[in-house]
């Protein structure tokens, strides 16, 4: 869909890279070469009250600080909707309650872990943190978890029922789920993104928070000009054709795109779907990020953090480059998919004066 007025006015991420302090943008990065990549958690004492900190799982804490910072960046505005996407939800608390249930044979269970295990805990806790009585949603649908959240947020701004929507993504890794995912041969293939042979993609985690608004500000980081989700490609259509018509709707052509950011994850059975897209954008700088951020159902949310920052700073991050065409990032095309399904297209552009 073509979008009239959607600006990114607040943005924050806790990820496996130093994104929360934004030093990642200055070239500071972490080598993600351990078992699985753990989010770099900030010193929560600065942001959350200690009672809450003790009670909450890492995922809730990461989400709360990301939301807090993103709201602050948007001048503390009260969002008219809070929407969170999470693929697997609050795993730590789910596992805690499930283990207790199995080991105690359904007796004497404490409710705390159950209370915090539901997927909507994150959006609910953000609302409680800022006393927000407005709309509150949680999406959990694999590789559309964050994407549906963003779509719904955009729809709320475009139908003018909201002026500010806080869109979040959150997923955590716990050791058992990491071992199960490895058995499934998912997200940890130890294959490599092309030309980044030293950087295998593994499983990542973190929280991303973005305040999107219909109001343009001097401090707006970027604007979202077009957005499209496609679960599967319609018969007799090609990904190239879909992308071309997506850009045409925004009165742009492939050559107008300065930078593309692709969700390649080192899995050959997944990355082959990016090949035609790489061949389509021959004049654009091509970037990848999952070798640094890891893969998860909401890993694509970091592509939005990254592209909005790249548009704001006009600086390409060298460790993300697949091929550089030395173009100033004015229009960016963000593309993610999983093994030929869950296609998401986003056109992010610099804020027009």
């Amino acid at each position: 869909m073509l979008i009239r007025n959607v600006y990114i006015n607040g943005l924050s991420a806790v990820s496996v890279q130093p994104t929360f302090d934004e030093s990642f943008l200055d070239g500071n990065s972490k080598d993600p070469s351990f078992v699985y990549i753990k989010g770099l958690e900030p010193d929560y004492k600065q942001y959350l009250n200690p009672t809450a900190s003790r009670r909450f799982s890492r995922l809730i804490k990461m989400s709360l600080v990301a939301a807090q910072k993103s709201i602050a960046m948007a001048d503390g505005v009260m969002p008219e909707a809070i929407i969170t996407g999470t693929g697997l939800g609050c795993l730590e608390d789910t596992e805690k309650f499930l283990t207790a249930l199995i080991e105690s044979n359904e007796s004497m269970l404490s409710p705390t872990a159950f209370i915090q295990s539901t997927h909507n805990t994150i959006s609910g806790q953000i609302a409680m943190m800022i006393n927000c009585y407005n709309s509150n949603y949680t999406y959990s649908n694999r590789y559309f978890s964050f994407e549906s959240s963003l779509l719904d947020g955009i729809l709320m701004l475009e139908d003018r029922s909201c002026k500010h929507v806080l869109v979040n993504a959150a997923d955590e890794v716990i050791p058992s789920v990491h071992s199960i995912l490895k058995r499934m041969q998912l997200w940890d293939r130890r294959e490599c993104i092309q030309q980044q042979a030293s950087m295998p993609v593994t499983i990542g985690e973190g929280a991303m928070s973005m305040m999107i608004s219909s109001e343009k500000k001097d401090t707006s980081l970027a604007q979202i000009k077009a957005y499209k989700l496609l679960y599967t490609l319609p018969a007799e259509s090609s990904i190239e054709g879909q992308i071309k018509s997506f850009l045409e709707e925004a009165a742009l052509s492939v050559s107008d795109i300065d930078v593309i950011l692709l969700g390649m994850n080192g899995d050959a059975s997944n990355d082959c779907y990016y090949t035609p897209v790489q061949s389509l954008f021959t004049e654009s700088t091509q970037l990848v990020y999952k070798h640094l951020f890891g893969e998860s159902f909401t890993a694509s949310s970091f592509a939005y953090w990254l592209s909005a920052q790249i548009i704001r700073t006009k600086k390409i991050i060298p460790s993300c480059v697949l091929s550089d065409k030395n173009r100033t990032p004015k229009h960016m095309f963000v593309y993610n998919q999983f093994r030929g399904k869950y296609h998401s297209f986003c056109l992010l552009s610099d804020v027009e004066v």
Binding site: M1, G87, L88, T121, R183, Y231, P234
Partner: protein
């Protein structure tokens, strides 16, 4: 942007009927699905009343043509597939309509029924546990299974906002239609009962050891149930193109957050109040035009009081339309509750019904609301407010109207 969102198909599976016809028959006799019969292998389910669908997964699977015998399906997915198939058949959708349709599913437990079997084995050794079970664990799995069965290709997603999930699925679907992203959306919710949820609700001490008594002074808690309720929602242009007659209109919707407590509702029912007000406001109708309120009414101390307070803030005692909770018949079916109750709302409009709030005898002292206790027939029902309130302060309200 302002075109109406029409309901053209409904489908449901619950403890009081495996189809709309069976559900209708149960309503006529005011039957309840709450019992002490359990299919679920759980100590708690043997001691507490629940509203289970008394068919095994294998029996459910046999009712859905086209499923692979090798594939493991979560019970949530099976229930969802049954009800969603009924909804598209009811709407008369052609395969090409489905290809271009969206699916907005919702669930809270997802494939936890299979996940907990997997995890019990996994706990004995990290190499154990059938991965096919683990693969159905996440919320998105059921949506993918429904999409595969019904050949939905355009868009799929899943909402997980606890007990308001299905209502929120319908709201997202309405926005997709109004924005012109989809002409047709299949939306609804499904939740199978599993050990995780029954133990979770039990740890919160909100399960009743008797049949639940929504809005009764002496209510002791809720009875968990399982169900699926699905809709075909359509734009006016699509209804016209297909030449079909809509069943009802989704005329208003509201979603608000109670922002009070992760699992408890606020004493003044703020979230519930805001959700209902928003649903009424977006519909353009007046509170006085509402003919019936299908309450969330779980039978817990906390919900029923908070919801009653919110109702009286909007309607005042003398103007309160007939209210009832249908959960004494269906049990509290969590993510599916908003779906099955919206299905009931459509049936109420079609048949001129107001549903009984079973097991009620004495009003809550603070609010004095007396719900409808017997099935009322031959009523003129044009507008129904259907409430779904959940954990995390997720409160939603739908306004369903006659065409």
């Amino acid at each position: 942007m302002s075109s109406r969102v029409l309901i053209t198909g409904i489908g449901s599976v619950s403890s009081i009927g495996l189809s709309i016809q069976e559900l209708t028959d149960s309503i006529v006799t005011s039957s309840s699905g709450v019992s002490r019969k359990t299919r679920l292998d759980s100590i708690l389910a043997r001691t507490l009343p629940t509203a289970q669908i008394q068919l095994s997964d294998e029996e459910l699977k046999k009712r859905i043509p086209g499923l692979s015998s090798k594939q493991v399906y979560s019970r949530t997915a099976l229930l969802g597939m049954l009800a969603a198939s009924e909804a598209i058949a009811n709407a008369g959708l052609a395969p090409s309509d489905c290809n271009a349709a969206g699916l907005v599913n919702s669930t809270s437990a997802g494939g936890m029924d299979k996940g907990e079997i997997f995890y019990a084995d996994y706990l004995t050794s990290a190499n154990k546990g059938n991965l096919k079970f683990a693969q159905t664990h996440d919320c998105g799995d059921a949506a993918e299974q429904i999409a595969a069965l019904l050949h939905i290709e355009q868009y799929i997603t899943t909402i997980s906002t606890a007990c308001s999930s299905a209502a929120n699925a319908m709201i997202h679907a309405a926005r997709l239609i109004k924005a012109g992203i989809c002409d047709i959306v299949i939306a609804g919710g499904s939740d199978a009962i599993c050990k995780f949820t029954i133990n979770g609700f039990n740890s919160l001490m909100i399960l009743s050891d008797e049949d639940c008594k929504p809005f009764d002074k002496n209510r002791k808690g809720l009875n968990l149930g399982e169900a699926a309720g699905y809709f075909v929602l359509e734009s006016e242009a699509s209804v016209k193109r297909r030449g079909v007659k809509p069943l009802a209109v989704l005329s208003g919707y509201g979603n608000a957050c109670d922002a009070y407590h992760q699992t408890a509702s606020s004493p003044n029912g703020e979230g519930a109040y805001l959700a209902m007000m928003q649903a009424i406001r977006t519909s353009g109708f007046e509170p006085a035009e509402i003919d019936y309120i299908n309450a969330h009414g779980t039978g817990t101390q906390n919900n029923d009081l908070s919801e009653s307070v919110a109702l009286l803030r909007i309607f005042t005692e003398s103007n309160l339309p007939p209210v009832s909770s249908t959960k004494a018949m269906t049990g509290h079916t969590l993510a599916a509750a908003g779906g099955i109750e919206a299905v009931l709302s459509v049936l109420a409009i079609q048949n001129g019904w107001i549903f009984p709030n079973k097991n009620f005898s004495e009003a809550i002292e603070e609010t004095g609301i007396i719900p409808v206790t017997e099935l009322q027939t031959n009523k003129s029902i044009k507008h129904i407010l259907s409430n779904s309130f959940g954990f995390g302060g997720n409160n939603s309200s739908l306004l369903i109207s006659a065409c």
